[in-house]
Amino acid sequence: MVDRDTSLPQRALALSVALLVVLVGLPMAATTLAAITGDLSTLNHLWETVLPRYLRVTAVLVVSVAAIAAVIGTATAWLVSAYDFRGRRLVEVALVLPLAFPAYVLAYAYTDLLDHPGPVQTALRAATGWGPRDYWFPEIRSTGGAIFVLSVVLYPYVYLLARAAFARQGGSTFLAARGLGLGPWAAFRRVSLPTARPAIAAGTLLVGMETLADFGTVSYFGVQTFATGIYQSWFSLADRSGAAQLALGLLAMTLALNALERRSRHAGRDVGERTGEPLPPVRLTGSRGAAALCACALPVLLGAVIPALHLVRMAGGAEQSLFSERYLGFLANSLTLASIAAGLTLAAAICLGYYRRLAPSAPRRRAIDIARLGYAVPGTVIAVGLLVPFAAFDNALDAAMRAWFGISTGLLVTGTIWLLVAAYVIRFLAAAIGAFETGEIRVTENIDAAARSLGHGPLGALWHVHLPLMAPGLASGALIVFVEVMKELPATLIMRPFDFDTLAVQAHRLAADERLDGAAVPSLAIAALGVLPVILLMARLRRS
């Protein structure tokens, strides 16, 4: 620990941290303000028309997805932790693969696969000789379909945390329970599962937050949730206060889940570090081994392999080419946004993390807590929360400049990519802070002190010691942000400058126009980049 000082770089650092906290707080504050000062008659109208449906559908969606993802994630984590079977090493890492896909990409793939003219129903008709109207087939573009898609793409959040919790609790308590006469199932149910419960709860709540934030899947499936409701109010109805009121409702739900998630994570920490030996895996052979392998392979097939293969097939039949000038333009726009946002988000995380590290104190930790909160704010809410104040600012500035100087400044802020970049920074700062904090473990407090005693100031120590030591962790953090920006849909859709389309926006547009083959082209490009951080994650899983 090095006590604080008040040198110039320190003050600059303090200022940038203050600005970041304001930036992250701004969309939440602006949404709240716009909602409560807005026309309440809109709310009445919403309440009489769509709000009950939004509430019901959103609740059904979140609860179902969270429950299914919790079961898949926990069961697979337990299978790969407590048992050994042929193929276990493979599925253990492959189970995180769905993280590479944005949910909406899976939605496009499954719609094409399961629709009436799709290969599944065509094969069914060919095999049975039924006519087009002779049978019932589940409609993928429904609430149930959204539940399916979101569950198979989001369960890895639970899987990762549950697997880590099972690894951390070690084998001694489980073996102690077995020694006290419990069978393996009873020991799991009464000892291992309760010990891992905080981690599982945290993962499940993350799934809930992601489900609330999802826009691409539900909007394509025509499922009416808060996220689609905000978008509709904003664009179709041009109803700003209605959008803000819906956004405030969504924000309240995600913040509540976020608060619960943090409580669970803290509870999980009390369980402590690995005690004693790891769980000795029980060897499963023959049909039992095969069943375990199937149970673990099924989520991977549904969440990654089948949609990926089908996307390749779809893209093969598309007239769109990723290497046409138009698509290279989308790609360039996506890469530009993603690189700028990743660089700035990383810089912001370094400012926040290093500021706290220089003098750990309650206010400095709170600054990081607030900065992390941006993760809980769905893209639609950030968009509304930033556009409302900055559009007002632009309009006021434009009016003032015209009145005084006779020149029009137009959309000075909202017409550029910078407001959108700010939205990305807010939304993904938590991931970069996480990378900083993971990397920071390598740098002991004495190493800071050593650099300082050898004549380097705080910034010199950061440059010569911290950044080189933390480089791998920070790079993977930047990569995660980069890919999340590539995948991000709702904020990009609402906030992008006119005529500035990205791969995600183009995929959404083609899908909305029922040109799914075409949508597969940008979707595949997004998934190909999305797989990069997942490969890093899989390499880490392999080593542990």
Binding site: V2, D3, I447, A449, A450, R452, S453, H456
Partner: protein, 344 residues
């Protein structure tokens, strides 16, 4: 009074970490001359590491003043104090080679000069061949020497060392501390070495300061402090001690163990320190008083006896060959005078 100002002068230094707790360091005064090695000793939690970190500037004092070569550095950040620091865990930069570690504090110099300085330092600590190694490829003793070379590189007038030998095994520790003393003396650097090992302090330092509860109890040469502990705590911490009460009548005092010669003239009720090695054991019936052996620990070249004599529990240190059986009786006598404790 010394004409030359001391290299380091600390006055009234205080630091409290938690308002609800006692201060870690309270009203501490300390002077250090150029080139002098001071050992700061005391039980764990006595505030010695905090004192070191306050002097280095890693933490700021709530009260007091730190002067370095006459200049007030109390408000300066660590990077502007030019004080070398050797950490208990060495804190070598894991991404830099041995040579880069040693050269870390030598920036913006002519490259050739910096390289020559690094080579000189590595040669002086006997690690010239390991210049290109990474820290994790070194043994604990080698890491320790790199840490010292790194701290000495910017030629600081003062080096602070926090438990520098605690991560070495016992055999390495003894030879390393004489090497370190030689290197510090050769570099002309003054040093404050924090240790909880009293033997290390006695062997390494020109002067010893004994700390407890954030204060310095006594400061002096190893001989002064060992032979004339100012208080029971100092006596107990340095070399262990038997403390008994007695009634002084000038040169001698009446104690439960019989009349004992004391090191200074005193009258009235006194507390006396008797070092374990001052107690001589002889067969039962001989000596000035008789005791019962409660326990014994054979350590090779010496052995420790726990003895009860006249209601006092005593520790005696004898030759390895002086064999008495536990539970048996033994005669005791004292060599040298008993030490009068000031806080008696």
């Amino acid at each position: 009074m010394d004409i030359e100002a001391p290299l380091l002068s600390v006055r009234g230094l205080g630091r409290r970490f938690d308002a609800a707790e006692l201060p870690a360091v309270a009203d501490l005064d300390l002077d250090l001359r150029s080139g002098e090695i001071l050992a700061l000793v005391g039980p764990s939690g006595c505030g010695k590491t905090t004192t070191l970190r306050l002097i280095a500037g890693f933490i700021r004092p709530d009260a007091g003043e730190i002067r370095l070569a006459g200049t007030d550095v109390t408000g300066l950040p660590p990077e502007r104090r030019r004080i070398g620091f050797v950490f208990q865990d060495y804190a070598l930069f894991p991404h830099l080679s041995v040579a880069q570690n040693v050269g870390f504090g030598l920036p913006r110099r002519p490259r050739a000069a910096a390289a020559a300085r690094v080579a000189d330092l590595l040669a002086s600590v006997g690690l010239a061949e390991l210049a290109a190694r990474m820290p994790h490829q070194l043994s604990g003793g080698q890491q320790q020497r790199v840490a010292l070379a790194r701290a000495l590189a910017p030629a600081p007038g003062l080096v602070l060392m926090d438990e520098p030998f605690s991560n070495l095994d016992a055999a390495r520790r003894v030879e390393t501390r004489q090497e370190v003393r030689g290197l510090l003396k050769a570099a002309g650097a003054a040093a404050i070495v924090v240790t909880h090992d009293q033997e290390e302090a006695l062997a390494l330092a020109d002067r010893i300061a004994v700390m407890q509860s954030g204060r310095i109890l006594q400061c002096g040469t190893p001989q002064e402090v060992y032979r004339g502990p100012a208080s029971e705590n100092v006596a107990r911490f340095l070399g262990g001690s038997n403390v008994i009460e007695g009634e002084a009548t000038g040169e001698t005092a009446m104690t439960p163990l019989g009349p004992l010669r004391i090191d200074r003239t005193a009258y009235g009720r006194v507390r006396l320190s008797i070092r374990p090695e001052q107690i001589v054991l002889t067969p039962a019936g001989t000596g000035t008083t008789q005791g019962e052996i409660l326990g014994r620990e054979f350590r090779g070249h010496d052995q420790v006896y726990w003895i009860q004599a006249e209601g006092a529990n005593l520790v005696a240190l004898t030759h390895g060959s002086a064999d008495y059986t536990a539970g048996g009786r033994v005669g005791l006598s004292m060599t040298e005078p008993a030490i009068l404790l000031a806080d008696g």
